[in-house]
Symmetry: D2
Subunit: 159 residues, 4 copies
């Protein structure tokens, strides 16, 4: 097996892991989140700011900007095929995102071991305007017993 096909295999595994996660993620689908690109540790997704995502001034609710970044984070940190859960995150709001804007979230891997990781997500539009920066921390999912129960893309009791 040459290096190229190995990279191709890793990309395919990453796409499979993210698709499996996305398939069960009613919240991301409800928000119209769309997956654009997936590679090991890197994900790009998009969301359009709809009328039910804004306040009375037509600006995206900060919580939904966070949710977009958090989905990108969950996809990126689970792209290696090892189940990871979010332990915490911080976001800086830079500019208001108007209704109708198509937001793009780019997730990159800043640090990773098999037990935890740090991921940075930038939210911008296609013109390069930046709306928010997010940093998330994840930890390996500890299965408490047989039937799991604890999902790879959600909060947990191991900060």
């Amino acid at each position: 097996m040459n290096t190229e096909s190995s990279a191709g295999d890793a990309d395919a595994r990453a796409r499979d892991a993210v698709q499996a996660l996305y398939a069960g993620d009613a919240a991301s689908k409800r928000l119209g989140i769309e997956i654009l690109e997936v590679a090991p540790g890197r994900v790009r997704i998009a969301m359009i700011v709809r009328p039910d995502m804004v306040n009375g001034h037509g600006i995206c609710h900060g919580g939904l900007l966070f949710t977009l970044a958090d989905s990108a984070f969950a996809f990126a940190c689970n792209s290696h095929g090892i189940a990871m859960v979010a332990a915490g995150a911080a976001i800086e709001f830079l500019a208001p995102a108007p209704q109708g804007e198509r937001l793009i979230a780019d997730a990159v891997e800043t640090f990773r071991t098999d037990r935890h990781g740090i991921y940075d997500i930038a939210i911008s539009n296609s013109g390069g305007e930046q709306f928010a920066h997010f940093r998330g921390r994840c930890a390996r999912l500890r299965l408490p017993g047989p039937p799991a129960g604890r999902p790879p893309s959600s909060p947990q009791d191991v900060p």
Copy 2:
């Protein structure tokens, strides 16, 4: 005017400010967020984890936990009648919140001047189980021009 009626006045002003904000907040209403208590600098709100808020494992999306806390933050920091906008926030996820859970977000004021503030929000249920802790920073809304455009409850360009 005695002290009691002053406190009553401040409470009434806080309720008015929060109701005005909530009235235009399509995102919070879309999530079924309910206002339980309002006082100057303090707010308690609730949200039930619905099927469209979870992933495939029946656990609330971390972004929507954040959104609940962020709404409580916006209401609390605007309860004094001075328009404030979120500059950033951090959240720690402590335990997964299952579908059907009624989450309560309690916001308290940790620091405040007329120009900025820090608010702490705890998310728990009626039994006292804790799901997340959130700390938000806000800054006074700078009106860039004529009659606003920039809303009191959303991100902005003044971190």
Copy 3:
């Protein structure tokens, strides 16, 4: 044993745990940090801003404000007698602290299980002026092998 003496026992244990930590903490001692009060989950310490802690304008270096808060955090999270290590922290700087100022750091316990915790530290002076707010996360020390090696008051590989 009555409740009062139990509380007294817990206080004594907390003081012993903090004193043991402080005894080996060359960095805190080098900065002249002084322990004022200790109870389970609560600590108050102080530090005077010396000439070697400031920049050319006579203002305390932000890193040393953080260090004061971080020491209060380490003492508070280890006050129950279970070895905990810092996993991360965030600080908001509110006002510059001038040379000669006596800074007081008050640590309170916001969340705690036997495995992890969240502590909030406020830095102020005796007049109530606030300089910074800090939030720290800790996790239980995992002993990697026999003679410990990993200290209770320092960073580690278990965020």
Copy 4:
């Protein structure tokens, strides 16, 4: 003037700005912090973990890891020649840094306008082992009165 010499000019201005800051920074000098590289928005500095920087177990105090990162942050965000002050920061501790270790802090610019910025600092050693990740937010220094008073490298009242 060609592009190369412009870049050279910008580098020279960045070095001058950082040297001026460092010259007055008693705290950074007291910790033995050494400047390795400077460019607009990018700085690399180093610090050796001395006996007076550790706790009883020979591990660097988390506050001093933060201080190293905070100095790199101050230098980087002031490298454009516009006075910026730290508004807040967060750090994740990844591994304990033993006494004697030479720590390297690399600062990069993640976001910047003339009024504020976000900088990311990684702390590692020459072998590539990572000890901490830091993210800092800065805001433009507002001069409250005559010529200065408020320093470019310290906390302030404008989060």
